[in-house]
Amino acid sequence: MSESILEVQNLEVFYGNAQAIHGISLTIEQGELLSLIGSNGAGKSTLFKSICGMVRPRSGTINFKGQTTAGLSPARITEMGIAMVPEGRRLFRSLSVEENLILGGYVRRPGPWTLQKVYDVFPILKERKDYPATSLSGGQQQMVAIGRALMSNPELLLLDELSLGLAPVVIKDIYELLPKILGEGMATILVEQDVTRAMQVSDHFVCMLEGRISLSGQSDAFSHDEISAAYFGT
């Protein structure tokens, strides 16, 4: 397991008295794309927030590049090389497109991604760079959110529901750009409601149900029925 970049072990997360994650363990290798699927409230976003340090797990360990992230501030964790595209994008609404991107690079990690490179991948953002970020269309806003995450040159990228609220054509466009985005050998965990698409793009997958892992493995190793049983818990 020497190349695994992230190792989560026996993670338990609570919101007050309510337990959102019941002992989850998973690993992801360098350069791998892992799909995380599961119905609403399964705990996918909570897992992401724990990895980023936005919520503190009650027990269990998270190791990134062999180092524990326990007790580190979200800022420190970003400096170590984890970035997230949060659910619902959450762009800074009083910042322009370009300012959002610049802020994404606040930690100044060295790497391939620069403002110029983001503009090369998403030319439309260059045209709109001085617009307030939230004045853009949904798809363009998602590009800003992706670009903002890339600007920190992460080694692990967490993508939470890229297609949320977007029209099918726009979703298709974004997924077509995905190889370009991930081409640099970044490890990625992708949360996607559209299970078929998630399986298509990923190497491995993890299916969550009510805070537990109900199925995981090679993305092409299971039948539709098996996955659907794990997804709905039937």
């Binding site: 980023c52 340090g53 936005m54 501030s73 979200p74 800022a75 964790i77 970003t78 400096e79 970035a83 997230m84 949060p86 959450r90 800074f92 609404r93 009083s94 910042l95 300012e99 610049i102 802020l103 994404g104 606040y106 930690v107 903002r148 920190s152």
Partner: protein, 287 residues
């Protein structure tokens, strides 16, 4: 002519009120905190200037070189050591803490400097004036205050919208959680915002102390003037504080012209009327 003079003087004093308001508006914009001790810090800065002048013999305006960084450092420390620990979803704790600070500060000033009122002497600057119309003279000091207010608001505006510090302020205000995963440290961002607010407070305090008598208990009414200017101008709008300050100053001037007892009342009434007809102020920027 008399009325023109009232309005001109009202506009000029509005600059001072804008200085009271700008610091308040700034920290509310960044961290949704209303510092009830804001006015007391203004008065505290006036006393700090007084002590500096007695010790060094500097001119009151030059004392800013010492008072501004000192107040900023105090603001930074109070934010890191105290206010950050009570900021959260519940608005009560920060209100009570700054309320407590207000009472403590008033009484520290009272025991240290007594209740006697004080004034800073700026020499010739206080007497000189420019005649603009027959019966309308603009004093050097009121003019200087107004110019300082415009310059400071322009500076804050630039800092807020054109610098990386301002970007950090806006991002943290928009979404503190996400700002943190971009690598910003909210607590430090807040501390810088408070430092900046207190730097403005320092300038306001020194100008206040040159223009009028001050005593340990005049803080709360300065807080109220600043607050009224913020609301009149519109939440989150820095230039709005200048307009708010001017409206307040002119209203007070007109009130005083009718009957000296009506000076303060007229200002408050102007504020309440604007609150009644435009609850979000004249030029709101945030909700």
């Amino acid at each position: 002519m008399e009325w023109i003079n009232v309005i001109v003087q009202g506009v000029l004093i509005g600059g001072l009120y804008a200085l009271f308001a700008a610091g308040l508006s700034l920290i509310f914009g960044v961290m949704r905190l209303v510092n009830i001790a804001h006015g007391d810090f203004i008065v505290g800065a006036a006393y700090l200037a007084m002590v500096t002048i007695t010790m060094t013999g500097l001119h009151p305006l030059l004392s800013l070189v010492i008072v501004v960084p000192l107040m900023a450092a105090i603001g930074y420390a109070i934010q890191l050591g105290l206010l950050n620990r009570v900021l959260g979803d519940d608005i009560l704790p920060p209100l009570i803490v700054t309320f407590g600070l207000s009472i403590i500060l008033q009484n520290v000033l009272l025991t240290t400097f007594s209740a006697d009122s004080q004034k800073l002497n700026a020499g010739a600057l206080e007497i000189g004036s420019i005649p603009v119309l027959p019966g309308v003279d603009i004093g050097y000091m009121p003019l200087l205050t107004f110019v300082a207010a415009v310059a400071i608001i322009a500076g804050l505006q630039f800092l807020f919208y054109r610098t990386s510090m301002g970007r950090a302020f806006r991002a943290t205000s928009d979404d503190g959680e996400i700002a943190q995963i971009m690598g910003l440290d909210n607590r430090k961002v807040f501390a810088w915002a408070m430092a900046l607010s207190m730097a403005v407070v320092a300038v306001a305090g020194v100008f206040l102390a040159i223009r009028a008598n001050f005593d340990p208990f005049m803080g709360p009414s300065r807080l109220i003037f600043g607050f009224e200017a913020v609301i009149i101008g519109g939440l989150g709008n820095l230039w709005g504080t200048l307009i708010g300050g001017i409206i307040l100053g002119v209203a007070q001037g007109i009130g005083a012209q009718i009957d000296p007892g009506w000076q303060l009342l007229a200002g408050h009434i102007a504020f309440l009327v604007i609150l009644a007809v435009k609850p979000r102020g004249l030029f709101p920027r945030i909700d």
